[in-house]
Symmetry: C2
Subunit: 308 residues, 2 copies
């Protein structure tokens, strides 16, 4: 078995998970728990960490630990100031927030400024750097999308994240799906994707009218019995994802790299293909490779490997 | 006192209100009650009507009654089929749904078809025809907006509603304001409008990026302490109303007639002015004049006046 080189932790709002990694990227062990930020009492961070990862730390004394995600937010263990874009692995490595110097650090999120309005990410930067390791040319220009509650569209070039934009697509979908007047038209549970209805939503979103108008069609199509509930939920999904794509104003034919969960990947793949964009699917979970890349840039791997 | 000529009723989802009108538009009496659609049990419509308006009917036997609003929806007293656009007062009058022939009718809502996607209104058509009575030239071309939970943008020409579009602006504002992650950044109650923050939201909405992206700035501006909660609520309002305006793609300098409540009127006035559109403010409540115009077109006023 390869020697452990890093304890990598993705600590989010509602859950945490960790991996014991070898320097070559081999995942030696995994651990997950529903112990997200919201469940950790004030002052309880070290205890929570020890409860979840104390065994690994004891078995591999001195092994470096990197934490990514909302654990570095104002509501987390400690606030890691956002690293401004453009930012590469070297910038991230330099701005690690050390809780135990040389031993345990939080990876900072990134900020950028688009026309005087700030944007932020925490955790996605690590996934992007992880995905870059697997792309054919880590220094080329890429447009990446990380779909989700708050989708991130990321511009990468020369190995640095040049800028990005957050879209509240998943959250707005859930609000409209569950809390709006449209919810009455829709079944309580999401069925399988109705591909034709989804495609129609994506196409409609490319037309003039705007999102606030287009979503009302979920109601009117039901009023006129032109579509059933399952199809309408898929159409609403297409309208939201289609609007997210429209808003990018991507050059025609521009390729897009998708880092998505198995649930969302097919939707973004369909929508991008319909809009004429070649799609590269990246591994959805690039967090471990990203944390390993950060550790390498910070010079932690050699030390970590020696200590193990 | 002028002779009563019409009992005009606006029966909505959560409340009803009625007016006893003279043929010249004079409002002789008003009545309102929190007895909306949702509070009327199945089969209880006639009884509910009698309880609210029986006294007027008894005092003025034979007086015609017109009902507008959601009372004509599938969940209402009886479903009045939508009249298709373009539609004028004569079309509305011809398609009244008579519950008591010659005596009591429901005003149909309107439907239109924009690129294969239907849109609908119920009640707003009556307000628009009412407002037209007060405009300098009832046959000219107008763009009207009726802001609200579901804003309606209405194109009128030659005294007919040519088409319209619904925007879920008010509902999406409420969802984002109260239920989304942004709610944590905002005070529980809306304070007075912060005009500068509202204007900044309207301006931001005109920039590329799309609504799903722009609204996230409410979170990031708070994260970077660039704005307080009250200002952010106003900014969010500006973002939503600004997006509604952007989506109209109005010709530069095109005038817009606003039929808005006192709460919303100043916001639409500000946003339209900022985008370079001359604003005509119409009376917010044109329902009574609209129902009177429908009654006149249906030939009910002479008969009603004689019977009174």
């Amino acid at each position: 078995m390869a020697a452990p080189a890093l304890i990598a932790v993705d600590w989010g709002t509602s859950a945490l998970r960790g991996a014991l990694l070898a320097a070559d990227g081999t995942v030696l062990a995994l651990h997950a728990a529903p112990r997200g930020l919201l469940s950790v009492p004030p002052g309880g961070w070290q205890a929570a960490f020890d409860a979840e990862f104390g065994a690994w730390c004891a078995a591999h004394p001195g092994l470096p630990v990197l934490l990514a995600g909302m654990v570095g937010s104002r509501q987390g263990w400690a606030e890691a100031a956002y690293a401004p874009c453009p930012a590469g692995l070297d910038d991230i490595a330099r701005q690690l927030l050390w809780l135990q110097p040389g031993r345990l650090a939080i990876v900072p999120g990134l900020s950028c400024d688009m026309g005087g309005v700030p944007d932020v990410m925490r955790g996605e930067e690590t996934q992007v750097f992880g995905a870059l390791q697997a792309l054919p040319d880590a220094t080329a220009a890429y447009t990446l999308v990380l779909p989700g509650t708050h989708s991130k569209w990321v511009q990468v070039e020369g190995g640095r994240i040049q800028g990005f934009a957050t879209h509240m697509t998943g959250e707005c979908y859930a609000l409209l799906r569950q809390q709006s007047i449209l919810a009455r038209m829709l079944p309580a549970d999401d069925a399988d994707l109705d591909a034709a209805a989804f495609d129609a939503g994506v196409a409609q979103a490319q037309q003039p009218g705007g999102l606030l108008h287009h979503v009302f069609s979920v109601r009117t199509l039901a009023l006129f019995d032109r579509a059933g509930g399952g199809a309408l939920a898929s159409r609403l999904s297409g309208l939201l994802i289609g609007e997210e794509l429209r808003a990018q104003a991507l050059p025609p034919g521009a390729p897009v790299t998708v880092l998505a969960s198995p649930a969302l990947a097919p939707r973004y793949q369909r929508a991008l293909a319909q809009c004429g964009h070649p799609v590269h699917m990246a591994p959805a979970d690039a967090t471990w490779q990203g944390l390993l890349a950060v550790a390498r840039a910070a010079g932690l791997l050699a030390a970590g490997t020696l200590a193990a």
